[in-house]
Structures are given as C-alpha cells and as structure tokens.
C-alpha cells in the first residue's frame, strides 16, 4: 500500500516537474530582459549560510601523518573522523 501511495506521489511530482520543463523549454517563464538579474539573484540566494558551514570552523589538518606530527609537537590527542564519501562537501 505504502509503495502504491509512494509511486502515485512520484508521478505527481514528476508530472509537475515535467510541466515545468516543457514550460521552460517552450515559452521560458523568465523573460530575456530579466534572466541575467534573476539568475544572479537566485545563485546568491542559494549560497549556503554561515550556519551550514560550521564544519569549516574546526581546525582540520591535511592528513593523518600531519595530525600525528602535530600531536607529538603539541602533546595533544588526535580526533580522527573516517567515513564514506566526502564530509567536507556534504556528499557523504
């Protein structure tokens, strides 16, 4: 039952989406006169806000060997995260 509802929803969403694609390809919902400004504004609006980049506030070193070198030099324990994908880009 859940699968059936899910499939119906998939087709609804894709129907709306494909409608948008056809509208974009045929008529262009954004006029030639507005497109440059609209695209620039949209790109700016979709940049990640600072609170999505808190990961960058951690002082990451380049690799494990560098971490061990600094660990010995500063007598600090080492925090190592290892995982699938790329945690720095969010593709993980």
């Amino acid at each position: 039952m859940f699968e059936m509802i899910k499939n119906v929803n998939v087709f609804r969403v894709l129907g709306v989406l494909l409608g948008g694609i056809v509208a974009t390809a045929c008529a262009g919902p954004i006029s030639d006169g507005n497109v440059v400004r609209w695209v620039e504004k949209t790109v700016a609006e979709r940049q990640p806000p600072a609170q999505d980049k808190l990961f960058d506030q951690i002082a990451w070193v380049a690799d494990i060997r560098t971490a061990i070198q600094f660990g010995k030099e500063y007598n600090r324990p080492i925090f190592l995260y290892s995982g699938m994908g790329r945690i720095n880009t969010g593709r993980c």
């Binding site: 929803n9 790109v43 290892s82």
Partner: protein, 277 residues
C-alpha cells in the same frame, strides 16, 4: 556527524583548543585507485587494526581518539552532541593537553581543485528542500572544464544577436551528473542521465562579449543508497553564459524546478576563481 556534533559550537571549541583534528574519506584510502600515498594508507589501516586489537567498534564510519603519538585510544560516539561532548571532555581529562589556539587556522574545507590557468572551475550546490537529517546542510561538487571542454560550449564563428545553439552534449552531462540532492550514495555515473539538453540564445553582443541565456532540462535516475533501487530524477534549468571569443566563459545555472522521486531540490552552478597548477 557533520549535521550533529561537528556543527556544535561546544564540540568545535573543545576540539580546536585541545585536539589535533583530521578527517579521511575512505575512498581516498582504499579501492583500485586510492588518492593518498602508501604511507598514509598504512596509517589508517594501522589505526583500525589497533582498534580491532582493543576490541573497539571499528567500522567504515567512525570517529576515533588517538594518543598524541598516533595510537588508537578509543572511538567517539557521534549520534548525540551531549554524548560526543562527554567523551571529548573525558579524553581531555585523561591526556591533560595544554589548551590553546588551534594547531592550524580553520579554513574552508570545500575549495576548487587546482587547475590549469585557462580552465573553468564550476561550483555546484545542491540541496533538498527538506531540512534536518539529509537536508541539514547542502552538498557541493567541483567541476573543472579544461580549454578543450569549455570551447565546446561556445558556437563556432561570429555570434549574432538572437542566435541559438546547443551546448555540447558530452560537456553538458558532466555538469548535470551532479544534479541530485544529498544522498548517501554519491556514485554519479554519467549513464544515470537518460536525457538532457542545454540550449543557448545570444541576448547581447557588445564589444565582442556575448551574453547568452541557457534553457534546458535533465532526466535520469539515482539510488539513495548504493546498490539499491534508483528513483527518478529530473530538473528544469535556466542560466546565463558570458564569453568573449577564445576566452574562458563565465557560466551560471539554476534549477527552476527539480525533483528526486517525491523530494524537491534546488541546484546552482557558477564559475569561480581557482588556484593554478
């Protein structure tokens, strides 16, 4: 973990003041074409072996505390901020490091790869409209187009006002392959993209500089988890490309509507400066 402890101010503070921090992407260390050298791979393998020997819960996705000389001390629970914080504080109590400034300055961790001076670096940001869990922070990709690639995006000869042309299919799909929201599976094979088109139309030609709008779409499929059933993927796209003859173009693309199964998402792509190699 990034959406939880590694975005928490208290965790970040204790890490920066007391620890040396490092992360490793497993695919850089394993598989047929590892990106890191043999010595670096051996270190991660050793750390895991030491974890097994200590009967720790070693796995593909783990946080570890190592001793200052690099030996496996313990694993760090990462599901809840409070538990992670407790573990880090307990570790500080054990090792008693001298708290102080970070050992290196914190820096942006997603940066364009070095590329030839005349290459075009594109920064892609993709994000589901949902928030929390997979939607908590955006996904990013970097796409580098060498001169021989971006040249194929431009029309041959002099451009006239209103002229239209299709962007090269092969170069286009290399950009559109990353048009999917945040998922656990990130194998973005080109053959996932079933149909796509990007069409340019010259809006202005001034002093040899062409500004063109781009309209297009992509349809394909993508699996949320590796090896599982793929869900349909599609996006309508609008953009702008500015170029002078023989010079690298500036490109911006945005989705006007996009869905992955029932999940709406948004993508932007833009040209950014890059370091030269």
């Amino acid at each position: 973990m990034r959406a939880g402890p590694l975005s928490d101010g208290r965790v970040i503070n204790i890490l920066n003041r007391n620890f040396v921090c490092v992360y490793a992407a497993n695919e850089d260390y394993t598989g047929p074409n590892p990106l890191v050298g043999a010595e670096e791979r051996a270190e991660l393998a050793r750390i895991r072996q030491e974890g097994y020997a200590k009967k720790l819960s070693v796995g593909d996705v783990r946080a570890y505390v190592l001793t200052p000389d690099g030996h496996t001390h313990d694993t760090v629970p990462t599901e809840k901020v409070a538990v992670t914080l407790d573990m880090l504080q307990w570790t500080v109590g054990q090792f008693k490091p001298q708290p102080g400034p970070p050992v290196v300055p914190p820096a942006r961790q997603s940066v364009p790869p070095p590329a030839p001076d005349d290459a075009v670096a594109l920064h892609l940001i993709s994000r589901g409209d949902d928030r929390g869990s997979w939607g908590e922070f955006p996904a990013e990709n970097w796409i580098v187009l060498a001169r021989e690639d971006w040249s194929k995006l431009l029309p041959a000869g002099e451009v006239t006002l209103g002229q239209t042309w299709e962007l090269d299919h092969g170069v286009g799909v290399r950009i559109l392959r990353y048009f999917y929201p945040q998922t656990e599976n990130n194998y973005a094979d080109l053959d996932r993209i079933e149909q796509h088109q990007l069409t340019a139309k010259a809006l202005s030609v001034r002093d040899g500089v062409v500004t063109a709008r781009i309209d297009g779409f992509m349809k394909g499929h993508h699996s949320f988890y590796s090896g599982r059933k793929a869900d349909p993927l599609g996006a309508a796209i609008v953009g702008v490309m500015t170029f002078a003859p023989g010079k690298p173009p500036s490109l911006q693309l945005v989705t006007t509507s996009a869905a992955y199964g029932t999940r709406p998402f948004k993508v932007t792509v833009q040209t950014v400066p890059h370091t030269t190699r």
